[in-house]
Symmetry: D2
Subunit: 225 residues, 4 copies
């Protein structure tokens, strides 16, 4: 498994927070997804919160459209919003419905502090900062799921969570990760030039990535129940 | 021509600013579009500014996704963003290209004060206010074009601006206007209940509509050149 | 002790979430502040996070200035910002310095997930909603501290946390609470009229208050260390 | 007269748009203020719009507090807000009252398109961009008035607009301009390092300054009436 294809910015941000990154991507919840020992109740708790998460995630990518600096950036972010709201949400509702959780139940779910923390952190980073702050806060989710999916893919067969693993480890999502990583690199270069890591601004963006990673890791904790 | 189908909120807002509304929808620029006497240069000036306008308009509808209060509102606003960025912009570029204005020329166009005033007013209303403030500021554009298109439709045949008239007077756009009007009415009812016009808040929203209408009227002035 | 003086909106919001409100205002951390049994280390942990909290709290009240609907609202919110940034922060630094925590140490403190959750929730409520959403998210902090201070005031004498208690239970802070409560009531009336609780919008604002209260309660948990 | 004391960023931004800068700072309105030939009615029209402008200007500086990256930046921006809302507005009301325009009349003034364009451009730049975008959009007003005041100061004596000239040409305001310029330079360095003008980001910030300058120039046109 390699994540080199997710771009240079991501590689640098990830290397800047090795402990939070490992806590997030190798969390007990993830490992038990991989070996199939995660209790079904924990997965359902996660799915319900993830539904609420996806709503705010779509809002955050919409904010990226507002904050974009070019038509190309707007179109890239808008395509993500469209996929989330008109495709992914429906898939998610389907999985939940199969588990006996209807849409009303999903929408009635109370957000946990972990869900509130991560989603509002990302949105506030976008509102208070600029396009790069927002991308750096969004990146751990998009690309971390890609890294987890790619790593767990060999364990998908016969796994009760095989569908989840194949979704994020599969070709389509991996391509999305590469595209997003390339978009981030271009956005960085279009603003901060060819040597962004020499600038104080880089530390600020990197901090956004690190904090979002810490909150992503905490998000898995809700699956403890 | 009737605009009753655009919903109750719009009818009330429109009735609250009869002079600005007439200045906007019966502006000399509009009348000359209708009778075909508008100089081609004026139309091209308008098209170039309208391209810049559409970019900010798509940003404003994306902000509506961020500020929406339900998944249905998010999906409605997101569908508009998608149509603007992935369909309408391309159509617009096509019309401009046919007139000899390439995409680079479009993007290099300097925003006039009128374009700046209207687009930033709408976006700032959305940022500083809530979903209703944003919809009220967006409504004069969406629904005013529908009203103009419907009124001018009988004059489309043989008119050099017939395509423009048929776009906004045609079935698809008129349906969009009815859908948008219904969405606005639902959004108002979901927040302010069945008698919103009795509330002080209503005056604030109505003022948003009136100011945006005044700035839309001023936008036509740029076609004077 | 009575909190009737904090206004009608607050009384209604508070009554709508009795369990979260009690969890917040009668949290073990609070009770041990009151009876003087709170470990000093827990109080210092709280102080360090509260310093970071105050920064974001000042940012949120500044956002209230941006989102205000009248000069009077702007001036009220601005006076709070000024007091926080030019007086309260200095007091806070003084208390921390006396405990051996310098300003550099304060600023180097890592925000806990609880601090991130509450502060970003408030800011995002303000950005995505309007002035009322922001006030409803700010109210549990301002007025809850007033309620706690007033209740604990008889326990201040001889208490190692007597200064803290007297700050929030004292005359000046209690007046601030009454003024803030009155300002909230006026802001509600100026937008939603004399019977706001009959409107769907009221539920949305009340939810803001409830969620912020839940996150305030969680904030005390950081004093567990 | 020299404006070198207003900082390096300002000097670069100003040099990047010589024509808009001259149109703004040497506008006929300004020249007639200087030689005392401006009709009183034009000055009153300006004062009324400037009152509305100041409200939005205070909102924009409050947004700067929200978007600041350090306590020092927050305190600098907050001090400006406080001076605007609790001192400058009162002075402005006094001047207007002396001219027979009461506060109710001031607040009832309808914003002109020019006022709307400039104020909303600044606020939207702040919302959609970051702290630097906001400072670059605010700078033409703060520092341009300083430059104008300093240049016209020798013409103040016996001039019906002498008070206005002495306000902006006087020691206190000139010091404010130097402080603001230094704050901008520090904010730039703290984000973009010692050679910001080599970065693509610099062009974006410079464009903010240029556009705001163009809109400031248009603002004087309202004094034509």
């Amino acid at each position: 498994m390699t994540v080199e294809g997710y771009g240079r910015s991501f590689a640098l941000w990830r290397a800047a927070c090795p402990v939070p990154w490992a806590t997030y991507t190798r969390h007990a919840f993830v490992e038990r997804l991989g070996n199939g020992t995660l209790p079904g109740a924990a997965f359902l708790t996660y799915l319900r919160q993830d539904y609420l998460f996806l709503i705010h995630f779509a809002r955050a990518w919409s904010l990226a459209v507002v904050k974009a600096g070019s038509l190309a950036e707007m179109q890239a972010a808008s395509a993500t919003v469209h996929a989330l709201l008109h495709v992914e949400m429906a898939l998610h509702e389907g999985v939940c419905a199969a588990a006996g959780i209807g849409r009303d139940a999903l929408e009635a779910t109370e957000e946990t502090p972990e869900t509130l923390a991560y989603t509002r952190y990302v949105l506030e980073a976008g509102y208070s900062g600029d396009f790069l702050d927002l991308l750096a806060a969004l990146a751990p989710c998009v690309l971390g799921y890609g890294e987890i999916g790619a790593r767990l893919l060999p364990q998908a067969r016969g796994n009760p969570y095989g569908d989840w693993i194949r979704t994020y480890g599969g070709t389509a999502y991996q391509q999305l990760c590469r595209d997003t990583g390339a978009m981030i690199d271009r956005a960085v270069a279009d603003r901060l030039g060819p040597a962004p890591e020499a600038l104080p601004r880089w530390q600020g963006i990197t901090d956004r990535f690190t904090t979002a990673t810490r909150l992503e890791a905490a998000f898995w904790n809700l699956g403890r129940a």
